[in-house]
């Protein structure tokens, strides 16, 4: 799934870091799982707004995953504040999983 962004270079760096954040049940990272929808770099406020979803609104691992995403972005961009914009429209679906994700899962 393509991630929408206003800064391609920084988005590439951010996604590389987010590839180390796994969904604990699936074992697949949040990028290839297709949980990340948008990375908005607000240079004026030195803020990154990460619009993302979870596989379910009531995912028991939700707190852990969002906390890990925040931490990963903070690691790569220490001068920025991080805001997680958690949305469930459009809902996550299996079609969000990337080619690499399918390979990881065995398909």
């Amino acid at each position: 799934m393509n991630v929408t962004t206003n800064n391609d270079a920084k988005c590439t760096t951010a996604l590389a870091g987010l590839k180390f954040v796994d969904d604990p049940e699936v074992g697949l990272n949040v990028v290839d799982l297709g949980l990340i929808y948008e990375l908005d770099f607000q240079e004026d406020e030195k803020k990154i707004v990460c619009t993302m979803t979870l596989t379910s609104e009531f995912c028991p691992m939700g707190e852990t995953i969002t906390s890990d995403v925040t931490h990963a972005l903070q690691n790569d961009f220490p001068e920025y504040s991080i805001e997680i914009n958690l949305i469930f429209q459009p809902p996550w679906g299996y079609e969000n999983i990337s080619e690499e994700g399918h390979e990881f899962l065995g398909y």
Partner: protein, 430 residues
């Protein structure tokens, strides 16, 4: 921005402090039930209406089955209904009432004191179920979304209430005249409302959500699930009505056929979920849970045979009835719990320890929290025990019963070991 985004705070899942005591209690109940199975194995060569067998059955049904289901459902119901649990305080009340009531009731059965012991124990269990029912009912009605999983659970809890109310009435029927017949006459009704109405509906409701979720399967079929749910309910209503208003023995094949069809359709659902899975490798825990649904076909065929012998005038085959009950509680139900404990409890414990893992670095995954060698040994001793004990019941061979019971006790010891390993896990940084 994409679509119509809305900022939302994460909805808190049920606290592990509410859920874990249920699992611990259930694990000890399984241990106690297998210990009683070993010390009373000789009774399985006789009639099923024996104080020790009643004690074992209720330890398994309430202490093991219900407690683990109560615990897991307090955690899973919010996921299934896409809402939150109505009250954690009610969940604590459910635990304490059941935790005190179950051993008193079981002790009442064991020494066959149908007076104060069974009445007090039974009343506490009913009170526990009422608190559970209220919690689940309000959670479902407060949820904005309706789905087949919630419908299964709604009906399951209704049948559970009817089961325990009938059970309590049967306890009182021993000393007062509540029903026109003796309590033994109503035992099949009490048992099947619990087995089919409560456990089967609940297992299908939870399984239909969790199995595709754990397999990462694209398959969904809400229409089929609703059909299965209403088919089971129709079979139960027919059985209940026929029990009181016409000859249940003669017409029993109608609800049995309905239940058999529902199991076959659920297996069809599981098969398609499996075929359309994205995750190639399937966990051992999920495999044993799917196996348990297949195992369910054996007691249904046994029940049909028991009913056929009654209708054809060969009388009651007590060995087959005992085998049927054993295959339900130690077979189907236990297989599901042995498998699903290490899919659900591991997550609850992992969340407890690593919720803020980002601050401590790379960690273990939930599946690393239990010992897989012990789990495999447990699965092996369990399957051999099930086979030997069932053969012992049917062939009336005390030695097979003893060996089978000893292996089931070993299964329980291995299970308890892994449960404690999971819940006592301390944070490890890789």
């Amino acid at each position: 921005m994409i679509g119509s985004p809305f900022n939302t705070a994460l909805i808190k899942t049920t606290s592990h402090k509410v859920v874990i005591p249920f699992y611990v209690y259930a694990a000890f109940s399984f241990l106690v039930a297998t210990l009683l199975l070993l010390t009373s194995s000789g009774n399985f060569a006789g009639h099923y209406f024996h104080p020790h067998i009643l004690a074992i059955t209720h330890t398994m049904a309430l202490g093991w089955g219900c407690m683990v289901v109560f615990g897991a459902s307090h955690q899973l119901v919010p996921v299934l209904i896409e809402g939150k649990l109505h009250s954690e305080k009610l969940a604590y009340a459910t635990f304490y009432l059941a935790a005190v009531g179950i051993p008193i009731l079981v002790a009442g059965f064991y020494v066959f004191d149908m007076g104060i012991l069974a009445k007090v124990g039974g009343s506490l269990v009913v009170a526990s179920v009422l608190t559970y029912l209220a919690n689940i009912f309000f959670s479902i009605t407060e949820s904005k979304k309706k789905n087949p999983h919630a419908t299964f659970i709604f009906y399951a809890v209704f049948w559970l209430l009817l089961t325990v109310l009938l059970g309590l009435a049967l306890v009182f029927n021993f000393t007062q005249s509540v029903f026109p017949n003796n309590s033994l006459h109503y035992l099949p009704l009490h048992a099947h409302l619990g087995i089919v109405g409560w456990f089967l509906l609940l297992v299908f409701g939870v399984g239909s959500r969790l199995i595709p979720m754990f397999l990462i399967s694209k398959y969904t079929n809400p229409k089929l699930l609703y059909f299965i749910c209403y088919l089971i309910n129709a079979a139960l209503v027919f059985y209940f009505t026929s029990f009181f208003f016409f000859d249940a023995t003669f017409y029993v094949f109608i609800p049995i056929a309905g239940i058999l069809l529902s199991v076959v359709l659920f297996l069809y659902y599981c098969y398609h979920a499996y075929k359309k899975r994205l995750r190639r490798a399937v966990d051992e825990q999920v495999k044993i849970s799917i196996l348990s649904i297949v195992l369910l076909l054996i007691p249904i065929v046994t029940l049909a045979t028991v009913s056929a012998t009654l209708i054809l005038g060969y009388g009651e085959n007590t060995s087959l009835i005992l085998a049927y009950g054993f295959l339900i509680f130690f077979g189907w139900l236990t297989a599901i719990i042995l498998g699903m404990t290490f899919k659900t409890l591991t997550f609850i414990s992992w969340n407890k320890v690593y919720r803020h893992r980002s601050s401590i670095g790379k960690t273990l995954s939930p599946r690393d929290l239990f010992n897989h060698t012990v789990f495999n040994a447990m699965s092996l001793t369990y399957l051999v025990s099930l086979l030997l004990f069932t053969a012992g019941i049917i062939l009336i061979l005390p030695m097979l019963l003893k060996v089978g019971a000893a292996l089931m006790l070993l299964t329980a010891v291995l299970y308890v070991f892994n449960v404690f390993k999971v819940i006592n896990h301390k944070a490890l940084v890789l």
